[in-house]
Symmetry: C2
């Protein structure tokens, strides 16, 4: 088994580049951990405080003690000091345990930082917008895990496997009840006039930091942000549909479910605010 | 980081005892894999064919090519040849991939075999029976993953964290609709006269091999096995409630939700059949 996935990828496990993970790590055994994916520009993590706050929040939700921000920043500095543009993946697990679901009495959380290439997104995704696939998989509702970016991501894996057409950028996911929730790696916004709505994520989905940034910044664009239930029919009637994540920022949706929207300006404006 | 969890635990990753896991392994990144926990007696896995068939079935459900039985048996022989009584945990993941949920084009599944101590269950669990906690967590309904023993087990972790009283052996889990599904590490049976019912697992839960064994063997005990929906009220009215898994076999439930059952013979008879 090769520990390095490619020549351009490296990682640190609790600050060490030498060891691999133990199969006793509960992140591996049960997906008992959380993660973050963030953009590195000129060696520095973008929107670091938002990401670290969310990482700590998600750790707390599972009763995991989040390693200090200084430890992550030191790891990031070691891996990315020379990188102009790259992706950092940060993972915290509950650490190693004995066999069985019961929480270890003295768990020492594991801290993993991974370096990856920045994705080669088509320029047209920003210039014009993107096409979405409507996923058949319906997200299960689990309020105790909703919103958390935990390591149990088989639903995302199965949903992403529904299409292989490269001209489709993302897949839209509904829950069992037909509510719009998110895309496989993105959050969703729907603009109705000056109202900018994003789905309520109290039952399923991941509440990303770019979603939170947009909720906070919406008034700057003269918009009123709102979190609530959005059905698919309602989404199709939006003046504009946007998707977002920490890597690409914001893209406008041009096509979904045989409906087309014409290119507009909100995605571009939000990307500009994200870069400031 | 110590790779060996204790002096009595060892493991093989794709047949090697030297390497650790890569954080790029999708089993770690997304819980993209499946597992089995089985009993080793005098160096040999119990009910091997049932376990391997289930492992292969679960791999197929996720589109993972299951490594051959001979590879697992060779690993088990290396780890357990000298063991009178132990636990083997077998894990298959989709293997290493690049970042992102999309399935790797050329994934090479990872095969992990872990050796662990056999749990020190109280003798009274067999002699008399066990007490159950009724879990507050309700299992989410995801038909695409139901029945599969996959690595997304945060619900089990959270449910198991609901009690710490050592006199409670297991926690009973219902789904959102209030149907009895399973325990955190066990399947459930309810006897009504000569009818032996076990919950339908088409929406959530793990369909274990001991459950299947009992469904197949029930006629030997003069019982009619049936899979169907069981509400909590209905379960409380059963003549007998049993829980089962591959390690302890079968235990009778003596107490649940302030209701007590008197010790009966079915658990003992089923354990005997399991050992033959």
């Amino acid at each position: 088994m090769t520990l390095l996935q490619s020549t351009t990828s490296q990682y640190l496990i609790n600050g060490s580049s030498e060891a691999g993970l133990s199969p006793w790590d509960r992140g591996f055994a049960y997906g008992d951990g959380v993660f973050r994916t963030l953009k590195i520009v000129n060696g520095k993590p973008q929107h670091w405080q938002l990401h670290y706050n969310k990482l700590e929040h998600d750790c707390n939700s599972l009763g995991i003690v989040c390693p200090g921000a200084n430890l992550f920043l030191a790891d990031i500095d070691r891996l990315f000091a020379q990188e102009q543009l790259a992706v950092a993946k940060l993972i915290v697990t509950r650490g190693e345990g004995t066999r069985g679901y019961a929480l270890p009495v003295l768990a020492q959380p594991s801290r993993i930082v991974i370096k990856a290439d920045f994705p080669d997104y088509p320029a047209a995704n920003c210039t014009f917008g993107v096409r979405l696939h409507l996923c058949h998989l319906r997200l299960a509702r689990q309020p105790l895990l909703a919103g958390i970016k935990h390591l149990n991501r088989l639903e995302n894996v199965l949903a992403r496997s529904e299409w292989s057409d490269n001209s489709i950028a993302e897949g839209l996911l509904l829950d069992e009840a037909g509510n719009v929730i998110a895309c496989t790696m993105s959050n969703v916004f729907a603009r109705f006039g000056t109202k900018l709505m994003t789905p309520d994520l109290s039952q399923c989905g991941v509440a990303g930091v770019t979603r939170q940034f947009i909720l906070d910044i919406a008034p700057t664009l003269g918009m009123i942000a709102e979190v609530g239930n959005i059905g698919l029919e309602q989404l199709m009637q939006a003046d504009e549909v946007l998707i977002c994540n920490s890597l690409y920022g914001v893209w406008q949706v041009l096509e979904l479910n045989q409906h087309a929207w014409k290119p507009q300006e909100t995605a571009r404006e939000l990307r500009k605010l994200l870069q400031e």
